[in-house]
Symmetry: none
Subunit: 216 residues, 2 copies
């Protein structure tokens, strides 16, 4: 089964170039072309392609809105964004919109093929300069719990109680979930607070968030 492609670009020359590149690939099949975002959305709605090659610099609608709309009407359609500029903000917003690939037009043709095949397979291709941005963003995030908290000498059960406690549940609710008595939950909580030198539920929540036990 071939991967069914839709090409979207307002320049006929570029569509032609893409066609030349892609038509030689036996696993790919171009089932349509669009010049504008509106046209693209209509075609997606009609044809439900596997992958849309979407130029971001379209005249009528922004690439982000177009991508959002495409994912709305055809969630299983993967989007590979093609762009001339490697703008950081735009890149992140395209990811949020559901893009499965992001390739600058200056990339080598093989990279575009890789991106298309990755997208068709439900995976994601990121051009190295953009992957770098995403990794940077990832590293800027608070450490992944286990690393940041060297060891907080809480017992396993206490960790468990802490997580639920910090999630906003009452002693009684937790007791229910863990099938223990509410009094025991309270006791655990006391021990936790003593060990960590905390003095209220609020401090407990903040501790849990810092440690990555729960998310805000």
């Amino acid at each position: 089964m071939k991967t069914r492609l839709l090409l979207v670009d307002d320049h006929a020359v570029i569509r032609l170039g893409l066609r030349m590149l892609l038509e030689n690939e036996s696993d790919l099949e171009i089932i349509g072309e669009a010049e504008t975002a509106r046209e693209a959305i209509q075609l997606v709605s009609d044809l439900h392609p596997n992958v849309v090659l979407l130029d971001i610099g379209l005249p009528d609608i922004s690439g982000i809105e177009a991508a959002t709309e495409i994912k709305r009407i055809s969630p299983q359609t993967a989007i590979v964004a093609l762009t001339i500029h490697e703008d950081e903000e735009y890149f992140f917003k395209m990811l949020e919109a559901g893009a499965s690939g992001y390739v600058p037009k200056r990339a080598a043709p093989e990279e575009l093929l890789t991106a298309i095949r990755a997208a068709a397979g439900g995976e994601v291709y990121l051009y190295p300069s953009l992957a770098k941005l995403l990794v940077k963003d990832f590293l800027a995030q608070p450490k992944s719990a286990d690393e940041s908290g060297i060891e907080d000498d809480l017992t396993e059960r206490e960790q468990e109680v802490l997580a639920l406690l910090a999630d906003g549940e009452s002693n009684a609710e937790i007791a229910d979930k863990l099938v223990i008595s509410p009094k025991t939950v309270g006791r655990h909580r006391e021990n936790i607070m003593r060990k960590l030198n905390l003095h209220s539920r609020v401090e407990l929540v903040k501790y849990a968030i810092r440690k990555g036990i729960i998310r805000a």
Copy 2:
């Protein structure tokens, strides 16, 4: 100027294969090979290669520790992780350790070349199945503050009370600070919770953190 490479793998066959692949590339130069992590660390310290091709399944030290140590002694050296398994946790930890690329051994040779060149250029290459994981992680993050809605129709006083409340202070303490009665603090709190549809101090704290009113 050629990119100076160090190959690290405990299997001679694989090092040979890599050599065959890489020696034909005019922009790459293999300046050393290592069988173990210790050996690799020594060589990095001596040679300061531009890129280290690091197998993660080494016998002596874990790939993560090896990568961390390499980045410590030679921060400008980029690391491309080579692995047989595409383990999620391992992948994220390698990123945290400072890896610039992550390529499964099953990847096409050209992809390895792309990864090496990206790494040498200070960028990052992620194999599509792993890029997908990173994007997933990215999307799981809370939306970027400004987007989530700055305006929460809380009055100035309520914001003030919220901040202190979320900071862990009791009604009485807040009353003291703001020179109002504890009852009034409670009243404000009630109004805040009603407006925001929150129902406990814990939810309040998490809300405040999401909004950036306080820090965890």
